[in-house]
Amino acid sequence: MPGKLKVKIVAGRHLPVMDRASDLTDAFVEVKFGNTTFKTDVYPKSLNPQWNSEWFKFEVDDEELQDEPLQITVLDHDTYSANDAIGKVYIDIDPLLYSEAATVISGWFPIYDTIHGIRGEINVVVKVDLFNDLNRFRQSSCGVKFFCTTSIPKCYRAVVIHGFVEELVVNEDPEYQWIDRIRTPRASNEARQRLISLMSGELQRKIGLKVLEMRGNAVVGYLQCFDLEGESGLVVRAIGTACTLDKLSNTSAFLPACNSPSKEMKEIPFNEDPNPNTYSSGPSTPLKNQTYSFSPSKSYSRQSSSSDTDLSLTPKTGMGSGSAGKEGGPFKTLLRQQTQSALEQREFPFFTLTTFPPGFLLHVGGVVSARSVKLLDRIHNPDEPETRDAWWAEIRQEIKSHAKALGCHAVVGYSESTSICEEVCILSASGTAAVLNPRFLQDGTMEGCLEQRIEEASPPGCGFCHIPYDELNMPFPAHLTYCYNCRKQKVPDVLFTTIDLPVEAIVVGKGCLIQARLCRLKKKAQAEANATSISNLLPFMEYEVHTQLMNKLKLRGMNALFGLRIQITVGENMLMGLASATGVYLAALPTPGGIQIAGKTPNDGTYEQHISHMQKKINDTIAKNKELYEINPPELPEEIIGSPIPEPRQRSRLLRSQSESSDEVTELDLSHGKKDAFVLEIDDTDAMEDVHSLLTDVPPPSGFYSCNTEIMPGINNWTPEIQMFTAVRVSRLSNINPTNQTLNKNFNDLCENLLKSLYFKLRSMVPCCLCHVNFTVALPEDELVQIAVTAVAITYDKNQALQANKAPTEKSQQRASTDNEEQLQFPLELSSDPLSSQPFSPAKEALEGASSHTGIPAAQRDRCNSWIELIKLKAQTIRRGSIKTTTSLEKASPLAEGYLRHRSVPSGTNSTVSVVKMTPLSFLPGAKITKYLGIINMFFIRETTSLREEGGVSGFLHAFIAEVFAMVRAHVAALGGNAVVSYIMKQCVFMENPNKNQAQCLINVSGDAVIFVRESELEVLPAPPPAAAAQPAGSAGDVTT
């Protein structure tokens, strides 16, 4: 499908002064795509040029369309010397290549220069005409949709979830080419930006091809990262989940807002809309998308994969379905066989999704992870991807075998990462071993799933907790009990996962962010010695991280972790581990025991005293936390009084005991009474420190909750007010002789202080929850630790929580029951839990709008429309007294002309900047996403040689991050969108050289551009036109000038 790319350069504004003599600029624009370049005329002596160019047309094939970015350069014409570049705009035209995404890119883009930052704006219109071409041997994959979102996107239905796709491309890093010695930093930065942009395009195209081969039409959970390997090259790699998606046609139908993304899927009538993109009709094909060349002679790369994964899993997973439910057993085996057959065809049965359609996830085994240390300078052929492919293949194999050991055929919530320091690179992969329902995995299995329904014996609220492995043949020692929810199957005492909390999960109380932080000193070493010492340290770090997580989890009285992400960062002389997860109390799992401290020297009296004192403190903390997170497991009698529908609960219990055999009941009671305590042995000062550090974690101030998952368990009544932010800190570890303890303390303080300052900053949003809190640690230099946090604060309505309870519970109950009819005997249990996830009522919004007295004024919290209206209002007040249109003054020449009133410059309604919301979540509270416009994947470099003048490192980075946000917003607005969901800052590499007054920073961000409509508006407008409202400061304004 070759195509025609058309570009029009409309105007510029707020350009910098390039000619000091006249205080003006003679600007013109170069438009480049591939090897073709067009130029506009020079617009002399203006800071607000109106080029109004013709349509520049590029005739290109679609491979080029996918790979190349459109490159727009604004220059200042100079008669006597070389033209000076003002800045550039790179536009990824990929969104124009899908049939359903954006049709035009039009709007104001910040003109960006890697040395000066944003310098004015340029208005550009871009269109693509694609010609149909049925070439079967094509190299392009136009039409495959990409989503960063790690769940099935809101306005789609998953017909088939095919599975894992990955790709990796390598190139020489321009910064390390010989030419870099003679070119300017600007040229070098631009070469890098352009290269990464090109490589991303190529990568996406290649992945798209694999998806087409699998007969899919989309990639969900697309995660692209780049590794700056230095001398050995620049790697761009991506993973994702191939799917066949079907667009739901009646997306505008009003649905009660469901805070859970995937639940919504269910309610929408499945409209078998004959979409051109449906590839679902074909028969299932064996997948052979990956052909790896494993080079066995890897002697050059010293490698040691830490095989401690099992260790890290040890106590957290439970097992054994084998003997569990009497009826369940055989069916389960059958089911497993089916799943197995579906999955075995895949080389890697991995899924990058973290949230799944209901019924997809059957059982969860536990976290599996693998790490491997590699030496980059030993890559045989650095310019080719083979070596890295082999590395990753190895790790994935390991993950797969770990999953098998847990009795699982699949890995969900899968992700990969690297940490590089000099020539050492740690590759990490982790995920959650799981058993999946095969009906989503194959084509044409929809009929088959009818029969399977009977076999899905596990109740929705607890099924995923039931162990997938054989009780008699457990992969590791664990304590099993019967499920506290259904009492039929065995569950582990603790569950760790990398996925989001399943929507149907029954949770008691609220969740909270739990972090384990760890530093380990490492000797400075070279090459293999270095790699060896790192690989030796890794298992210990994993073990300690795990212990910390476990302790902290127990300290909060919780029994499960979701969204677990363990990051190990390597530096010159230390390793850092940071694990973040969201702790919850799953009703299906047993109540966690307390923490007991045991001393080694029981004879010493003062020591005993000390220990008992500590013990008391710990017990107090647990009690306090239970209160704070409202963890009152329903087994407690007082809880029954508190729960809204106590009576049915008893009845359901009766029902249950009837269906159970008597010995099961006794066994139940046994396990119930036994609260196994977790014993912490204090045998030396180190352990003492550990206990102390346990207690230093300060709970968030009142009114705040935090989690690193999409939704906060136990809070459902979100208001539309959100604030996404990025915070970065770099601290110097000043100790001269650092020890592990002092380092740990420093690191711990750094994280805690950062969190504290976030709470303080966002205090005006209380009550609110920080969701999707994502910490990234880097060790840029010897003694520097860099922490970057991106998260979103969402205000919730405290008062509404209780009232909203009743009605929606019924709904959710219905939803659950329509799904699995055979669960009808348990619905009461669902509704009896006041804290199970509920949709929030739309009526609440109005109420909340009326009484909005949170620090930030009401209008801010919602729709871009209201913003525009306000501006309109303002424009009117300004206009009062004069009949003419409002004017805006561009400081320059117009002054001389006088007649201000006669000029109508854009400043009225059409030139206001449209609001673009950004969030790391896949949804916007109180809003409905009506259209996905395409993926946003941007890479920027900023450099300065006048660091002090720009306000030092903080001033420099502050401005840069603000610029990145601005450029993301501008691109989304130009696509016609009003929000970015699943936003993530994947990389923030900061380097400084204060002595030279220099600094450089690289930032890579991505997300999905979307159009959303407020639910309150949805009712009024069946066919919402927010796209129009979101259309950026349009061309209309310019023409009038």
Partner: protein, 360 residues
Amino acid sequence: MSSDLDVFVGNTTLIDEEVYRLWLDGHSVAEAVARRLRGGVLEREGTSVAVLQSDTRDHYRTFQMLERLLHAPPRLLQQLLFQIPPERQALLVQRYYAFDEALARELLGKKLSKGTKKELDEVSARTGVGIRSCRRQFDNFKRVFKAVEELRGPLAENIQQLFLLPPALARDYAAIVFFANSRFETGKRRLQFLSFGDFAACAQSMMAHWSQGALAPEAAEPDGDLPKSFLQDLKELKVLVSDKDLLDQHKRDTSGMGVPVLGGPGFGGSLGGGVPALSRALVNVGGKLTHARDVRDFFVDLVEKVIEPCRSDKWSPGDLRLFLTHYTAAPRNLPGFRHQALWERYMAAISACLLRMYHD
């Protein structure tokens, strides 16, 4: 463990009103933190000094980046760098351009030049406004002055459009520009009793009645200057005092209106010459306005020649109003007086000024 780099950037730019105020007042980060501490944030939020410092620094950085945009508020509306809700933008602009009246009073009528800026130290000491804040406010005056200096049309309206200020604030700026343009003397001791508000009101009346824009909206001259032709015409009014007949007639007519106070004992007595003296003063003030030097003395003259005599005669403001009303209306009946419209236009502003200024 010291933090070298510490930034927080929100998709919606966070604006803390308290910190903004501290920044506008010209406090350093350390001073601002100290003041916030005194405000008791620590106790309220249970946070640490380090957090407060980091927060204050973040806000200061944001404000510094915003300042460039605040110099041309319409750009703040168009820029893409900071996503700020409109009502917050309005607040930022309004607060940035708000000024201390004491400072503005000091600077009224002064040339907004580098020289004046150098004297701000003294002004700061006298007014108690921080020196940094003084400089910022001075720069605001100067910026607004420069921007509208050459523009035609109503001054306040131009300012409102260029700086997106609320109407009242724009009118105050118009007064400042008007004073700076005509360089009226306001610093004399006998003018000290007049506040910024008094002068601003006078400026507004003068612009409303005298400037070109007041008559024809498409006027050719900027509003800040008093139209030359008008000032020239004012000379014609001298006929009222130079022509003996007219003067007498005028006097008679004014007194004949049955205004008790004018016929009373005080009137004409302590005024030393009575209505003729007052009349001469009023007319002469206008006649002198063609000379730049005399323009400066406009307010001095009004106080010296009109207000002070009236005050020593213990006129109430009501008396003055009554007098001015009749005095303005009187020439209507004068035979051979052809400048009725001019007279009334002139007296409208003069009366408004006098009434506003007539207080202790």
